[in-house]
Structure formats: structure tokens, C-alpha cells
């Protein structure tokens, strides 16, 4: 039934399997490593409400992380979705403006997070006088995750069959109504998976936040106060070498965050596939 394998095919088969095994091993190794180092250090005192130098609780940072995620998505979400709507539903393909927008979006997605951090610190923190604050951090991150939201929304919108649009127009609905009532709802799972992807990126970000939202391990009382997210908290715990064990425990919590986010996004993805 099958063609007999020649040398080349055999070789290709071997390298492919070898590569897959290397990847899987790396993965297992890293995850096992994090769990082994971290789990023994996960103590209840790490989840107390107040951060003190005795318990180095990560609870304030968890809360800050949630605040930063929400704020960032509030800023980047609408802008990203609206610009995707413009690109898909309004703009003429291949117009100058579209070309420039696509190019700048690509540029944004390629900029290293440290450059975002410097930019955020120069513009928001210093020039605009926000100081190290959660708000400055969220603005910086919003620009950073914008391309992700734009791209996934764009894909989701393009995937909506044209017959939906034609049907809606045919029934006499305006363009705006068609977009908000017909197209967006059927693209929701795709948009959501983009938003979840960005959440993952926000949670894991360190370099861009150190210079913008500060490293204070207290719950930020208002959005103009500084506060560290979980990843920044881990960086801080590591930097003076006093709390390395606790840093490992934070890594486990970060891992759990990522797992939750990924399963959420793949769940949404499946929903999208089912239609």
C-alpha cells in the first residue's frame, strides 16, 4: 500500500521525530522544573492580603495584575476592534491609508518590550507627568497588545460570510446596524481569543512595566498610584537575592495563570470552529 521508503525519506522521518522529541522534552523539563522548585514554597502566607517583608505576599500583586489587565483591555480593546472594523468593513483594499496602517501595526508588533518600557517612561511617566503609575503602565501595554487584538479581530471579521452582510442589507438594515447586530456577534469568539492572547502577554510582561508602573508590592489604591504586577513582583523578589524561594512560588502561580488563559482561548477557538 505504501511506497517503499528510500534513504531520503527515512532520514527526513528520523529528523522530524527527533525534533519533535527535543521540543517535547524541553517543554516537560521546563514545566517540571518550575513545579519542583515552586510548589514546596507555596505557603498560605504568600496569599495574605497585606504585603510585609515577613510574608512577601503576592496577593497585592495578583490584584494589581487584574487591575492592569482590565485597564489595558479597556483602552486597547475598543481601539483594536474599531480599527479592525474600519479595515475590514470600510476601507478600500489597497488604499494608501490601509497600507500605512498595516505597516505601522506590523511595526508595533515587532517592537521589543524594553523599547516600549523606555518609551512609556519617557512619554507617560516623565513628559506627561503621570509618575510611575498603573495607568502609565496600562497605556504602554495597551499600545503593545493593540496589534494582537487588531489582527485577531480582523481575521474573525473576514471569516464572517458575506451572505450575512448581504442578508442584513437586503432586509434594509444600515451599515452600522449590520456591523453591531450581525457581524460583531458572530465574530465574538474570534475577538475573545485575541483578547485572551493579549491577557497572556500582559500577565507575563516585565520589561515594559518596570519603568512605567513601578515595583511597589502594594495594592494600588487608585490608577495613578504605582503597583507591581505578578511578573514584576517576581523580578523584584529575585533581584536582591533575599526571596528566591518565594520567587519560584510566584512562577508557579504565573504558570497557572497562563494555563487558565490558554484553556480559555482554546475553548473559545473551538466554539468558533463550531460556529
Amino acid at each position: 500500500m505504501k511506497a517503499k521508503k528510500d534513504g531520503v525519506s527515512l532520514f527526513l522521518s528520523i529528523v522530524t521525530h527527533a525534533a519533535a522529541i527535543i521540543t517535547i522534552l524541553c517543554l516537560l523539563f521546563i514545566i517540571a522544573y518550575i513545579l519542583i522548585r515552586g510548589i514546596p514554597n507555596l505557603t498560605p502566607s504568600l496569599f495574605e492580603w497585606e504585603y510585609t517583608t515577613d510574608n512577601v505576599s503576592m496577593m497585592p500583586s495578583i490584584i494589581n495584575t487584574i487591575i492592569v489587565v482590565i485597564l489595558t483591555l479597556l483602552i486597547a480593546g475598543p481601539i483594536g476592534i474599531f480599527s479592525a472594523i474600519y479595515l475590514v468593513e470600510y476601507a478600500k483594499r489597497g488604499s494608501k491609508l490601509v497600507k500605512v496602517i498595516l505597516l505601522t501595526t506590523e511595526t508595533l508588533s515587532g517592537i521589543p518590550s524594553i523599547v516600549y518600557g523606555l518609551f512609556g517612561s519617557l512619554m507617560f511617566v516623565i513628559s506627561m507627568g503621570m509618575g510611575l503609575s498603573v495607568f502609565a503602565g496600562s497605556l504602554t501595554l495597551a499600545i503593545m497588545v493593540l496589534p494582537t487584538i487588531m489582527r485577531t479581530t480582523q481575521e474573525a471579521l473576514v471569516a464572517v460570510p458575506d451572505s450575512y452582510r448581504e442578508g442584513s442589507f437586503g432586509l434594509g438594515a444600515g451599515k452600522l446596524r449590520t456591523i453591531f447586530r450581525i457581524i460583531l456577534p458572530s465574530a465574538v469568539p474570534g475577538i475573545m481569543s485575541g483578547i485572551v492572547l493579549s491577557m497572556g502577554r500582559i500577565v507575563g510582561e516585565t520589561a515594559a512595566l518596570i519603568y512605567t508602573s513601578g515595583t511597589v508590592a502594594q495594592v494600588c489604591t487608585n490608577i495613578f498610584a504605582p503597583g507591581s504586577t505578578l511578573a514584576v513582583h517576581m523580578y523584584r523578589l529575585m533581584s536582591e537575592g533575599l526571596y528566591t524561594e518565594q520567587a519560584c512560588a510566584v512562577a508557579v502561580v504565573l504558570l497557572v495563570f497562563v494555563i487558565i488563559m490558554n484553556s480559555l482561548s482554546s475553548y473559545l477557538g473551538r466554539k468558533l470552529a463550531k460556529g
Partner: protein, 290 residues
Amino acid sequence: MNKFLKGMLALGLSATALVGCSSGGDDAQSDEGTASGAITVVSREDGSGTRGAFTELMGIEEDGTDNTTSSAQITNSTSVMMTTVEGNSYAIGYISLGSLNDTVKAVTVDGVEATVENVESGEYTVSRPFLVCTTEDISELGQDFMNFIMSDEGQAIVEEEGYIPRETTGAFTSNGASGDLTVGGSSSVTPVMEKLAEAYEEINTGANVSVQQSDSTSGAENTISGVYEIGMCSRDLTEEEQSKGLTPTTIALDGIAVIVNKENAVDNLTTDQIKQIYTGEITDWADISE
């Protein structure tokens, strides 16, 4: 299915191989104490307070020129420094005395052990000041906190944390000011400052002190611009900073421990040897063991 089985088999095999590798590595490391081998020099980044003090005291810096060998590894974190030295039998580095633990070995310098007592008595000379800087328009609360830091109670905390206290101003009595106070700056000073703030808040319950960790430079700059009321510095203030109205107060001394791997047979280094290691004149441990 056959392919699947083969894949799993290969996976298992390579896993065993990997385990074998890593345990083999452990064997190699458990050699008896190293006495020879190329030295891995680890230093802090340019401008770090720890590095500044270290290079100056060891004579590595001459006439304002830092002669640290360009082949020295650089890190910006105490933790990375310690992990590097912990994992490399041939490494040498230096850290704040307060961060020292038993994963690495602190060598004696000119025969003197790096302890709080020896720094205090002046026998162990490798130390640097922890500063706080303030401006003239410090609030009553800020002044009260400063008084606390320099009091018996405050300096007792400094000593407890492994740093060297300064002369105290006697027992502390609060002036009763309340409100919010922001202290920020050097990451080296932050751990002890957090302890001080917690103790102070217990005495003066109306006060809320938040400690922000950034770095010496932004500590000073933000104090000038009024973002912080008290800035923390782990280096001396520059003339430019002082001319802008900052007054430094030394709240503690921090000893700098010279650390090597636990496997290392060397227990003592002279100032001269350390200087030669860091300037690249001595590159092998064999040249040290007398």
C-alpha cells in the same frame, strides 16, 4: 499505532539519557576543593552603588578610571550574582553583607571576616553607606520618620537586618504627625527601609509609609521633583544632585562580602589579590593558593 509506540519509546530513551547526563554533571562537580582553574570574574553593572564602593575600596578604580577587566561578567542583580557563583566552582563575586547566605562562601579579606561587628569596628573595610536624601521642604511626618530611623529603635532594626548601624539619637518619641509618606529609590536599601516603615507604622498608627523600589538615581531625582519625600541611595550623592538642594543622611553602613563557590579551597584573599583578580592580572586560582 506502531509509530506512536516507537515515538514513545524514543521519548523514554532520551529522557533516560538526559537524566544520565545531568547526574553525570553532578559527579563532576563534587570534586574536592578547587585550587586551580581559570577564574570567572563576576562584577556589577557600571554605576551600581555596590560596584562603585567595591572598586574604590579595592583600588580597582584609580584616578577616576574603573580598571575592572573587560572580560568580567556583568549582572545587575544580587540574585544572579549569587546563583552564578553558587553554580560555578571558579567564580568570584561580591554582594551586600545583608544578602549573604550559605549557598556561597564569603572569603576573609586580609584575614578579617566579613561580619557586622568587624565592619562596625572598622577592621573590615569593604563597606558603603546607605543614604537617604531629603530636601528642605520635608513634611512633619517625613521628619518624624527620619527621626525614627536614626533613633535607638530604628537603628536596632538596621542591625537586625545585617547592616551596620550609625550613632543613634536616643529613644524615639513621635511628633504625632499623620498622613501618607512616600519613600523611594535604591533597590539595595529597599529591604531594610520596608522593615523600618513597618515598625514605624506600628508606633505611629496614623502614618502610612509606602516604599517604592527603583534605583539610586531615580530616588534622588524624584526627591528633587517632589514625587518622593525621602529618597534612598546606595551611593554617594553627586555634586549636581547636592546642588539641587538634596541633603544626604547616612542611615547605615553595608558591608560588601567577597564571595566564592563553596567548593573553592581559597578562604582568604588580600586586598591586592582581589584587585589583581578584578583588573585581570591574576586569571587562575593556581596563582592564588600560596
